[in-house]
């Protein structure tokens, strides 16, 4: 009796010419599961990685745009100085002058003021005009409240090197900008996945020699 049952069982599950055997089907399911599991893990990891890279690149792009803008102004700058703090972060001014030296003639002169709000970005005011955001896109959050960009530090610092004349130190203006990126942890409802908390801080510095500071008449 047992031999007969075994024979029927074996025939039905391991030996048939009409389709896959049980082992073949099991192996196939295991293999396909491995493929899709591996692929899913790869995609999730890559998504996380791209997310971090995106945040770093956003910060770099913003800071580099600002630094390039400031560098351009400082090439014509005559003086720089610190303003009283606004919005809790450092604020500074830079005066731009275009002049002819021989004979001395001021062609154009403007005073720019820079300030920053931690969550709203850098603001620029030219002359007596009201401050306007340097970049309208800050704080760069495309998925509201999940990604937080904060300006932690923004200030002008007089350059100082021992044994250099004061005129040289005054002409070397340097500005520091620190941006912090923070991604809040928790469930991301858009993709229905759990995201870990992540943060990174990057500091940017610019130093430019202002020739006009040296060349301006007393």
């Amino acid at each position: 009796m047992m031999a007969r049952v075994r024979k029927i069982w074996m025939k039905n599950f391991f030996h048939t010419d009409e389709g896959w055997t049980f082992i073949e089907a099991t192996f196939s399911i295991v293999l396909i599961s491995v493929v899709f599991l591996g692929f899913s893990i790869t995609l999730l990891n890559f998504r996380e990685w791209m997310n971090r890279s995106w945040a770093i690149r956003c910060m770099d792009q913003y800071a580099n745009d600002f630094m390039s803008h400031l560098d351009n102004l400082m090439q014509y700058g005559t003086n720089m100085g610190t303003n009283p703090n606004q919005y809790g972060l450092g604020s500074f001014w830079i005066s731009i002058t275009n002049f002819n030296q021989y004979p001395f003639e001021v062609l154009d002169s403007t005073l720019y003021s820079f300030s920053a709000k931690p969550t709203e970005g850098i603001f620029v005011a030219a002359g007596n005009s009201a401050p306007v955001p340097f970049d309208q896109d800050f704080p760069l959050d495309e998925w509201k409240y999940k990604h937080r960009f904060t300006i932690e530090d923004f200030h002008y610092e007089p350059f100082f090197e021992l044994n250099r004349p004061p005129l040289f130190n005054q002409a070397m203006g340097q500005v520091y900008l620190t941006i912090r990126y923070e991604r809040l942890g928790g469930l991301d409802f858009l993709s229905e996945t759990f995201m870990d908390e992540y943060s990174i801080v990057k500091e940017y510095r610019i130093a430019t020699f202002m020739k006009n500071h040296v060349d301006q008449p007393e």
Partner: protein, 170 residues
Amino acid sequence: MHRVKYCSRKIRSSGLRLAGSDDGGITFLEVLVTFIMIAVATVVVGHSLYFGNRMLDVDMHKQQALRIVQQELEYWIGRLYMGSPGDPSEFEMAPKMNYKSVILEKDTPPITVQLSRDQILPVMDPNTAAIAYWKVTVWAEWEEPDGQLFSREIGTEVSLTTYVSVPYSE
């Protein structure tokens, strides 16, 4: 002879059929080949994405290093512009390798940029035999955290050269 026939019949009737489907379905071998093909495709796509992302990282580091080099160059523009005969001294203008380290990213391990400078040389004006301007070259080298092998082809070095005119003449 009887035993051989018995064995072959046993193999034919065993559970595992590797190939030779007669019933129009997919054989296990076909699934296996598909698995290998999908695995290879996944690995290639994954590597491409990784490679692309790393290239962006290296490019970003290059951009930051370029700004550091630019700042260093500005210092020397200032020194030469405000200089006088003998200042900067010959010793200061001599070539220097890895004379300054700047932290590029405070990651673990941190990426450190090493700054080097070529000799600052005067370029003479052929008409007046006076110094027309000075030539300054500063470059930066750094090491990527996952080794140089990956970025060997594009290099982890940036260099800037500028010509500084001076108000005084020797």
